[in-house]
């Protein structure tokens, strides 16, 4: 089935980053927690950067099968 939702998602990563930064900027977190947030934030930005760099354009063709399911095929 074509409906996997596991792939990397900038939308989600950015929402997470926004949350981390807001928490850090509030200054309400303990040092322990702040360091954790810091680490997480930096890791996330790195993942995003890698995602930007690891760029091979993927193009597929949507093909409807006779049993009404869908398949992604390479473009001929």
């Amino acid at each position: 089935m074509a409906n996997k939702k596991k792939e990397f998602d900038f939308e989600q990563a950015f929402a997470q980053l926004e949350e981390i930064v807001n928490k850090l900027e509030s200054g309400q977190e303990t040092l322990e927690k702040s360091l954790e947030l810091f680490e997480e934030g930096i890791k996330l930005t790195e993942i995003c950067r890698n995602k930007l760099d690891s760029a091979d354009q993927k193009i597929k063709e949507l093909v409807k099968k006779s049993d009404n399911t869908f398949e992604l095929e390479d473009i001929k």
């Binding site: 074509a2 939308e11 930064v21 810091f38 930005t45 354009q57």
Partner: protein, 403 residues
């Protein structure tokens, strides 16, 4: 049997056709609809006149068309006067027009207006009915001809701006009989497939007839029913279609659609840099606040066992730093350790490292307040000096006049 003697050449046949046709249709009036209209730099106009059964090539030379009182356009119904001419070299005939008048608005235009009014009455162009476009689409569905320029334009733009975005093409017939239904099917297939974040519906420029499927109700309804946001990019900037009006977003061209929907790598980089510097700043603030707290602590407790307190403080700070640095090491390559200046700044702020550079801190007694000015202490008054290694008592002799 036919032999060469009985046959005639192509030229001879064409000459006979030419003579017959041109003699018979020397001065005629015909009505029809203009399509494939072209006004060349030479000033001549070339187009096709058609009705629902047939079409004929038409030309109106500059010498005649300069007197036209209207601007001919595709889809217009016109009444024309002229004569048939045969172009022998290419073997076709055409009408060479001397006079032309518009005869009402073309039927396609009427149909367009009728559907537009109907959809507007149903409230289907309302802004609030429109879905918003995703900020970072992961996967973009594309509905267009596999062989047109539009598909290549879209792929190119996305490759340049956002190669990390995946593309799912659903090839569709974009002109002629059955095109509207195929486009409508494509939209509903994407909605069943679900795994794209947005759909670009596009085709390159063409005549009104070519673009017509995008003005049909089947396409309009499919767009309206779609749960996935749709960008319509039909024809050139100046072409407006029903599909443009009901879609969630109208892009002037297929390339523009791809441009609009993809945040470029650079834009994403800018966002990331922004987040990163906010993270850096807040950590830097946090640690500075922490220093202050420790300084306060130190000052309050320095009365007793100052060296112990200093040791304790430094232990905490060293501990903090090592965790901080470890966190940095773990999360980044050493060479792009952009936080290094921050680390150095914080190290420099550490009171112990200041003392180790040879400075001392003087405390007024008995309250152990830091002496910040010569006037804080009277002559002959005792005070305390703290060095990196140990503290001792001292006495002020006199003020030294500044030069």
């Amino acid at each position: 049997m036919t032999d060469a003697a009985q046959s005639i050449t192509v030229s001879e046949l064409t000459a006979q056709i030419k003579n017959n046709l041109e003699a018979k249709f020397d001065n005629i009036w015909i009505s029809g609809e203009i399509s494939n209209f072209n006004h060349y730099g030479s000033g001549h106009m070339y187009f096709t006149l058609k009705d629902d059964q047939a079409e004929i090539k038409a030309v109106m030379f500059r010498g005649y068309n300069q007197y036209l009182r209207f601007k001919p356009e595709d889809g217009m119904q016109v009444l024309t006067g002229g004569r048939i001419t045969v172009y022998e070299k290419r073997g076709y005939y055409q009408i060479s027009i001397k006079q032309m008048e518009p005869s009402g608005i073309g039927t396609l235009y009427l149909a367009f207006e009728a559907l537009k009014n109907k959809l507007a009455e149903e409230g289907l162009f309302d802004e609030e009915k429109k879905l918003s476009l995703p900020r970072f689409p992961r996967k973009i569905g594309v509905i267009t001809s596999k062989f047109g320029a539009a598909v290549q334009d879209i792929f190119q733009v996305l490759k340049r701006r956002a190669p990390f975005v995946e593309i799912v093409l659903r090839p569709a017939q974009v002109q002629g009989e059955g095109a509207a239904q195929d486009i409508a099917n494509a939209i509903s297939e994407f909605n069943k497939f679900k795994d794209v974040d947005v759909i670009i519906l596009g085709r390159g420029g063409g005549s009104l007839e070519d673009l017509w499927p995008f003005n049909e109700e089947a396409v309009a309804c499919a767009i309206i029913d779609s749960k996935l946001p749709i960008i319509s990019a039909v024809g050139h900037e100046t072409d407006f279609s029903i599909s443009d009006m009901v879609a969630d977003y109208r892009a002037p061209t297929p390339s523009a659609a791809a441009e609009i929907i993809s945040l470029s790598s650079t834009e994403i980089q800018d966002y990331l840099n922004g987040y990163e510097s906010r993270i850096d700043n807040s950590i830097s603030n946090l640690l500075e606040r922490l220093w202050q707290k420790l300084d306060d602590l130190y000052l309050r407790h320095a009365k007793r066992k100052p060296q112990d307190i200093i040791d304790l403080q430094n232990k905490e700070l060293t501990n903090l730093f090592s965790r901080f640095v470890k966190a940095m090491m773990r999360s980044r390559e050493l060479e792009n350790l952009k936080l290094m200046p921050l680390y150095e700044k914080l190290t420099a702020l550490n009171p112990k490292s200041i003392l180790e550079r040879g400075y001392s801190v003087a405390f007024k007694l008995p309250e152990r307040k830091i002496i910040r000015s010569a006037s804080d202490v009277r002559s002959d008054q005792d005070f305390e000096l703290l060095t990196a290694k140990g503290a001792f008592s001292a006495k002020k002799i006199k003020d030294i006049k500044e030069q």
